[in-house]
């Protein structure tokens, strides 16, 4: 009798969880798309800003420093509001674009610092060797420095990627229907909070854990011979 009630309860809970999952599922691609597009943009911007930070030219160096300081110093949520409600009105940005720009710009500041540090970690003898062979500064960066920097850059960049996936939930605040927004919609329709946020959390967790696996793979791929703990 008692056992039967437990089984009933469990199957009821599973039913709710399944309903939630079915409701949320269509919003998952938006979270993925938002994160991928924003982060790809952030990487390109971050590389440019990171290189600008290392520029010999005073103005470029100073401007890129201001860029990093300003964007790192303002909460992402505020940046989202500013871009959607402030710039968005003028430039006619839709929710998705506003979200992409806010995340891309904000994360590009962090990535720029990571990339700059990764480049600076390479011994100056590597530049001297490459330049003395007649390579241009661009070729030196492209074929000698950056490939070695990747070893240093990949793990923290991966961290930022995972963080940006989680931070994409902030864009729900301007009404973009991604995973977190869908969770709020479900809650306001059916008023089950515990289960709703449990499922939302698990979905994020599954996504971030898969990313961690991917990262481990990348770290192996960009490993440079002769570095790391011997085994």
């Amino acid at each position: 009798m008692f056992l039967r009630e437990i089984i009933n309860w469990i199957s009821f809970q599973l039913h709710i969880l399944k309903n939630i999952l079915i409701f949320l599922a269509p919003a998952i691609p938006m979270t993925i798309k938002l994160t991928l597009v924003a982060f790809a943009l952030a990487l390109i911007l971050g590389l440019l800003i990171g290189l600008a930070r290392l520029s010999q030219r005073g103005l470029i160096k100073a401007l890129s420093k201001i860029y990093v300081d300003v964007l790192r110093g303002i909460p992402l949520l505020v940046q989202i509001f500013f871009i959607y409600f402030g710039l968005g009105k003028i430039l006619n940005l839709d929710r998705f674009l506003a979200g992409v720009i806010a995340i891309a710009v904000c994360y590009s500041a962090y990535l720029a610092e990571i990339i700059r540090a990764g480049i600076q970690a390479i011994h100056k003898g590597q530049y001297q060797a490459a330049l003395s062979l007649g390579m241009t500064p661009y070729q030196t960066m492209r074929y000698v420095i950056l490939p070695q920097s990747l070893r240093i850059i990949v793990p923290p960049v991966a961290n930022e990627f995972i963080a940006s996936l989680k931070d994409s939930s902030l864009v729900s605040i301007i009404g973009l229907r991604e995973l977190t927004r869908a969770g709020r919609e479900y809650y306001s329709q059916y008023f089950v909070d515990f289960q709703t946020w449990l499922v939302v959390g698990i979905i994020y967790l599954v996504m971030t854990l898969s990313l961690s696996r991917l990262v481990a793979h990348l770290e192996k791929k960009y490993k440079v011979h002769g570095y790391g703990i011997p085994h």
Binding site: H123, G125, Q126, Q128, A129, A130, L131, S132, L133, G134, M135, T136, Q139, Y143, V144, P147, Q148, R151, V224, H225, G226, Y227
Partner: protein, 242 residues
Amino acid sequence: MIIQTKEISKRFGEIIALDAVNFEIEAGEVVVIIGPSGSGKSTLLRCLNGLEKTDSGEIVIDGIKLDKDKSSIHKVREELGMVFQEFNLFPHLSVLGNLCLAQEAVRKRSKPDSEKISLELLKKVGLLDKKNSFPNQLSGGQQQRVAIARALAMNPRIMLFDEPTSALDPEMIGEVLEVMKNLAKEGMTMLVVTHEIGFAREVAKRIIFMDQGKIIEEGKTEDILNSPQNPRTIAFLSKVLK
């Protein structure tokens, strides 16, 4: 004259690294530079291939005047190969990759061409069997021989060596010097910063002694080694030759 410098000077803040240095080198000559630590030997070599910009003075290499514009620096670097104390091999590339990279990027050679040239050079420095190894899998002496081969792959007319054996264990110095001696025999113009006096005695035509950014004394190898004139040269040589 394949290398000619006129009154070149270079400061780092308060430090005068080069102080109105003049010298000339003829094609095919092997010249050794000696001098105490901090005397400006490395700075001099780096100025010659534009890795460091001089504050004043003139450098002419194989008829090309080195000045601010990038194309002259580039042309000069094509004439000059440089070998460093710390080898500076590219750790992310195999030995073959180290030799091929600049050939393809700078000389625009095809992959098969640059590989063929690389393999010949590796044979010459006795490291053909290491072509697929990575730098960290080689001994210091082997790394330095790869670095020499890498510089030679660009067909330089002049080779600059900055203390090529100073970072090596004693038992590996010989193998690197051997490669350098062979190069000298083939008629390569070489400017070598080294404290290997035996090497100087055997292959150098002239020795330049530097101290505090200046050339204090220069002359025929046997003259400098057997009867140095300047007291500073005498003091330095007595330490090195002891």
